[in-house]
Amino acid sequence: MECNQAQPLIPSYLDGELSEAQAAPLRRHLLDCQPCRAGAQSEKNMKRWFSATNAVAVPKGFASRVARRAFAGDTGEPRLEPSLTFVPAVAAALPGAATEASEDRALRFVLQVTAAAALIVIALSLGLRGLSLPSGTSLSATDGRAEIGVQKAIERLDRMNREEAAKAPPATSTTVEIQRP
C-alpha cells in the first residue's frame, strides 16, 4: 500500500469502519511508514478532545411528564413563546424535581403565577365595577314583589298625600320660639 492510498483510510480505520480486508494492509503500511504513522497519531490526538463528557442528568419524572403531555395533545410544534411552557415549569417546581434547570424553572413559574394573578385581579375589578354601575335607560326599583316605574311611584305617593291631606283637620298655626345658646 502506498501513502496516497493509506492516508484517506486512516480516519475510517480509527473509527472502526474498515473491514479486516481493508484494515490489514493499512496496519502493515503504518508499521513501515513513519509519516503516515504520525498522521494517524495526530488523528487520535484530535479524538481526545471529544472524550471529556459528563454524565447526562435526566430530570426526575421527565418520561412520565412527556407521555402525559403527548396524550393531552401537545405536538411539540413551535409555540408563540417557546420558553413559556407552563406544565414543565409546574412540574419542575414540585418538590423532588431537583435538576440543573429547576431554579430557572421555579423562577419562571413564580413569574407566570404572578402575571396570571395580576390578570385575574384586573379582570375581577373590571367585572365588579361593571356590576355596581346602573345600566339601561330607565330607572326602576324592586321591592321583592313587583317592579314599579319611578313615574308611577311618584304618582302613587302624590295620591296618598292628597288623600291624607283631605282626611286631616285644618291645621292651627303655632309659633315656637327657639332660644339660641
Binding site: 490526538n45 471529556a52 463528557t53 459528563n54 403531555r69 420558553s83
Partner: protein, 193 residues
C-alpha cells in the same frame, strides 16, 4: 432483527393503540441519548430539556408514520437533530450556517494538533471543544457530534441525515480538518509540527 428493535416496535404499536405507559417506556429508553445529543448544541439546561421534550412530542404526533424501515432509534434521532437545529435557530443561537459546498473534495489534512494537556480538567477540555464546535457550520458540527460524542456508525449517521456513507466520510474528513484549524486559531499552543 435485534431484540431491542422488536421491543421498540411492540411499544410503538401499543402506544398507537392508546397505551400511555408504553410511550413512557419508549421515552425512558432513549431520553438519556437525546439529552446527551441536545447538550452538545446548547449549554442551557432549560433549553436542553425543552428541546428533548419537543423531540419526543413530535415523535409521538408522527408515530403513525414510523414504518419500521429504519430502527426506531434512527427515526427518533433524525427528529431530534432537526428539532434541535430548528429550536436553536428560533432561540437566536444559531450554529454557523454552511457557506461552502460540504462535499467539495478536501485537500489532504496537513494540520496536526496535539491532544489536551495531561493536567487539563475535563470541564476545561469540554469548554474548549464546545467553543470550537460552536464556530463550525452546523453541517460539520452535526456529523462530528454524532460520530465523536455519540459514537454513531457511518451507516447510522447516513440514515439520520439521509445521505450516503461516502458523503458521511467526506463530511467527517472536512469537519475534522475544520475543527483542527479552529482549535489552533484559538489555541496555537496545541499545534504540532
Amino acid at each position: 432483527m435485534e431484540a431491542a428493535q422488536v421491543e421498540d416496535e411492540s411499544l410503538v404499536r401499543e402506544t398507537l393503540a392508546g397505551s400511555q405507559a408504553s410511550f413512557q417506556l419508549l421515552v425512558e429508553r432513549y431520553q438519556e441519548r437525546i439529552f446527551s445529543l441536545a447538550r452538545h448544541y446548547t449549554r442551557n439546561a432549560v433549553d436542553v430539556e425543552d428541546l428533548v421534550q419537543d423531540t419526543f412530542l413530535k415523535a409521538f404526533s408522527r408515530l403513525d408514520t414510523f414504518q419500521g424501515q429504519s430502527s426506531f432509534f434512527t427515526w427518533l434521532y433524525r427528529i431530534a437533530v432537526n428539532t434541535i437545529l430548528d429550536g436553536i435557530k428560533r432561540r437566536g443561537r444559531s450554529p454557523v450556517n454552511i457557506v461552502e459546498d460540504p462535499e467539495a473534495v478536501a485537500a489532504p489534512g496537513s494540520t496536526r494538533v496535539s491532544g489536551p494537556s495531561a493536567g487539563m480538567e475535563r470541564d476545561e477540555i469540554a469548554r474548549i471543544t464546545h467553543a470550537v464546535l460552536g464556530e463550525l457550520p452546523e453541517i460539520f458540527r452535526a456529523v462530528l457530534v454524532m460520530r465523536e460524542f455519540e459514537d454513531l456508525s457511518y451507516q447510522q449517521i447516513a440514515d439520520v441525515l439521509g445521505i450516503s456513507i461516502g458523503t458521511v466520510e467526506s463530511r467527517l474528513f472536512r469537519a475534522r480538518a475544520r475543527f483542527k484549524d479552529k482549535l489552533l486559531q484559538r489555541h496555537p499552543e496545541f499545534g504540532e509540527e
